[in-house]
């Protein structure tokens, strides 16, 4: 096609470069968070994720032991211990926030009341005093350290357990699967009737389905919530399954009808001539042939329900037992706004399933998009 355009080598290079730039631009946001989800809290706070492969330098403080930790040694009282995490190297240390890097490793520094503190290069410290310590709170020792690059899965372990994401994962599955399967069934029958059966009002129904495609969901929240409360459904899984089924139906019917209309007329006519009932035609011929369209819609609906926040917030309630993953993520953004190690790991757990589905079934997704937009509009 475009190849006809007397392609020059320079142009090919330019196009390849442009494509590369595009891909990098579009992947970098996700990639940055992915990398961050494998770094520990201190690393994330100390340096940008693009510095992950390099040794990072950071300054922080650690508290020395308290009076409970002291032991007599000759006529001195001593508190000792280790300050560094595995892998860290000590560059400098200090005793005040104003000069956190005042002393070399190995130096011994006199403090008030005849106390003295020394910190060795390996991070072991020794705090000595002529009389017994009385502190109930350990003194702060400031450390400037370098940490070699390190990737960890601790964030994930923590988030799945303590932050309730494991539970939310189950909840999301519970919401998503029935909300994907049930509309397909209902829509498939309706789409068959709209595509291949003659009855008055058919054109009107098709037009209505196209119109309902764009009805804003927001409109439906309050009336339906009231309705669910009135009939005794309240907030719960049954309610959200029904809601998602209703909201997904227009697209389902529309996609499936568009596809079924394109199936060869001869097959259906000859089956009718052979005495097959409509039900048999539907089950034996239409359903198997429509598999690609069914798959397309299933993916759409799955992604949409999985990623939905609004419907889940309204129809499922906000107790920690019922929260879906998007809901947890939103809560974390509010309560743990700066804890990027938690946010990053949580976000990745929540988007991992859609991404898997996306990469595995991209073909059907693209096909569905094209059927939905180019043909009908």
């Amino acid at each position: 096609m475009s190849g006809v355009a007397g392609t020059k080598a320079r142009l090919v290079w330019a196009v390849n470069l442009a494509a590369l730039l595009l891909v990098i631009l579009w992947t970098i946001p996700t990639f940055g968070l992915l990398v961050s989800s494998f770094r520990d809290r201190d690393q994330i706070a100390a340096s940008g994720w693009w510095r992950t492969p390099f040794t990072s330098e950071s300054t922080s403080f650690v508290r020395a032991g308290t009076a409970d930790d002291q032991h007599p040694e000759g006529d001195l009282f001593v508190i000792s211990g280790a300050l560094l995490a595995p892998g860290q190297t000590l560059l400098a240390w200090g005793t005040s926030a104003r000069e956190p890097g005042a002393y070399e490793p190995g130096a011994t520094v006199p403090l008030k009341d005849g106390q003295a503190l020394s910190v060795a290069a390996d991070g072991s410290y020794r705090l000595t005093a002529p009389q017994a310590f009385t502190e109930t709170r350990g003194m702060r020792i400031f450390l400037t350290t370098t940490t070699p690059p390190r990737l960890t899965t601790e964030n994930y372990a923590r988030v799945i357990g303590a932050e309730g994401l494991g539970r939310a994962f189950l909840n999301t599955f519970t919401v998503t699967i029935p909300a994907t399967v049930i509309p397909i069934l209902i829509a498939a029958f309706a789409a068959y009737a709209l595509a291949w059966m003659q009855f008055p009002g058919r054109a009107l129904l098709v037009a209505a389905v196209v119109g309902l495609l764009v009805v804003p969901l927001q409109l439906a929240l309050i009336p339906l919530l009231k309705l669910h409360n009135d009939v005794g459904l309240g907030k719960g899984y049954m309610g959200i399954w029904l809601a998602h089924t209703g909201f997904g139906l227009p697209l389902a019917i529309y996609l499936l009808r568009n596809y079924m209309v394109g199936l060869p007329r001869e097959i259906i006519e000859s089956a009718r001539v052979d005495g097959a009932t409509e039900f048999q035609i539907f089950r034996r011929i239409i359903l198997p042939l429509s598999f690609p369209a069914l798959a397309s819609f299933a993916i759409f609906q799955f992604l949409w329900v999985w990623n939905d926040l609004l419907v889940a917030t309204v129809f499922l309630g906000n107790s920690s037992k019922q929260l879906v993953m998007t809901g947890v993520l939103r809560e974390l953004l509010g309560s743990r706004g700066g804890d990027w190690e938690i946010l990053a790991a949580s976000a990745f757990i929540s988007i991992s399933v859609p991404l898997l589905v996306f990469f595995a079934m991209q073909k059907y997704l693209v096909r569905g998009l094209l059927a939905g937009s180019v043909k009908g509009g």
């Binding site: 946001p29 996700t30 309706a190 003659q198 804003p216 899984y237 209703g246 988007i351 094209l370 509009g377």
Partner: protein, 331 residues
């Protein structure tokens, strides 16, 4: 685990109920009007009149209850007071006109409408044109398309990380501030910068929607008859002219479809604003404002519904346009 069993049970029950309905009702129909005997002809005719409604019945019921009824109910509520008891006429709408937050929201929505569909379509068109011309085009397409699979909330987290702010003198861990400070500026708390923060939120939606535009426009570009392009090249058109004068005019229809589809997404945009700024610092949009009135503090269903109806009214022209196109197609 219990609830997974519950979900599995629901799937089985739901599938069984659907099948039972379709199969059972068909069977009843055949039993009531058997296609044999002295009245076979009349029976078949009658059965054929009823059968479509058996097929389509559940879907119509769902659509009526879950989409049509709410529209009517919302319209009714928008004419009533907070609790939905007393008729207040157009009060809620006149209140909207004078509410500063509503004006801010509608102005922001207009800004979104002007920027997002245009840029997403433009980037999509460029991406389609570029990726169609290289050997690893499909891989490249996958990556640009990928954000489509990410939830708005997930995207919110991803982008909030980019806009992250650390105090001056500290190392910036947000990409934008890192670039900004390396150019010699002081770091900014981006999401609180009035007016411009709207564009930072829009970037998220553009990032998501470009892939969608690219996929559809790429298919349309491939559908262009080659003769037109060859003829243009023989007449001495350069690549730019081929693209803008020959290709783009031939896919106007598809561009319009992409544009309107994204427009609808923009009109309903909620999650991104909800999780990133919650409408503070001048970033309010209609859907989030509606959520505020319906579910926060002292709920006012009348005002909330009025805002919902405004969103519906904005969507309606596109709805009509879509229906007209679909009807043209059916003929």
């Amino acid at each position: 685990m219990d609830q997974l069993a519950f979900a599995a049970g629901t799937i089985v029950a739901g599938v069984f109920a659907c099948v039972a309905w379709f199969w059972g009702s068909n069977w009843l129909l055949d039993a009531a009007y058997p296609a044999r005997g002295p009245q076979a002809g009349a029976n078949i005719l009658r059965a054929n009149m009823i059968r479509p409604w058996l097929f389509i019945g559940p879907a119509v019921a769902f659509l009526a209850v879950y989409l049509v009824y709410p529209v009517i109910n919302s319209a009714w509520r928008s004419l009533h007071d907070a609790a939905g008891r007393n008729w207040v006429g157009m009060d809620n709408y006149t209140w909207l006109l004078h509410d500063a937050k509503f004006r801010e929201a509608i102005w922001n929505n207009m800004l979104w409408l002007a920027v997002v569909p245009a840029l997403a379509t433009l980037f999509g068109l460029l991406a389609a044109q570029i990726t169609d011309r290289i050997r690893w085009g499909n891989v490249a397409k996958s990556f640009v398309f990928m954000p489509m699979a990410i939830s708005f909330v997930g995207a919110g987290v991803i982008w909030k990380f980019i806009y992250d702010y650390r105090g001056e003198g500290q190392e910036q861990i947000g990409l934008l501030n890192a670039i900004w400070t390396s150019l010699g500026h002081a770091p900014e708390t981006w999401l609180t910068v009035p007016f411009w923060n709207n564009f930072l939120l829009m970037a998220v939606l553009i990032w998501i929607q470009t892939g969608f535009a690219m996929v559809i426009l790429s298919a349309a570009l491939r559908g262009i008859p080659e003769e037109t392009i060859e003829a243009a090249i023989l007449d001495g058109a350069n690549p730019w002219q081929v693209f803008f004068r020959i290709k783009v005019p031939q896919i106007w229809g598809t561009i319009a479809v992409v544009w309107t589809t994204i427009t609808i997404v923009v009109l309903k945009v909620f999650d991104i604003v909800f999780v990133m700024t919650n409408g503070q610092w001048g970033t309010q949009v209609l859907a989030n404002l509606m959520y505020d009135w319906m579910f926060r503090g002292a709920p006012d269903y009348g005002r909330g519904s009025a805002i919902a109806i405004v969103i519906m009214a904005l969507v309606t022209p596109i709805m009509v346009w879509n229906i007209r196109n679909a009807r043209k197609e059916m003929r």
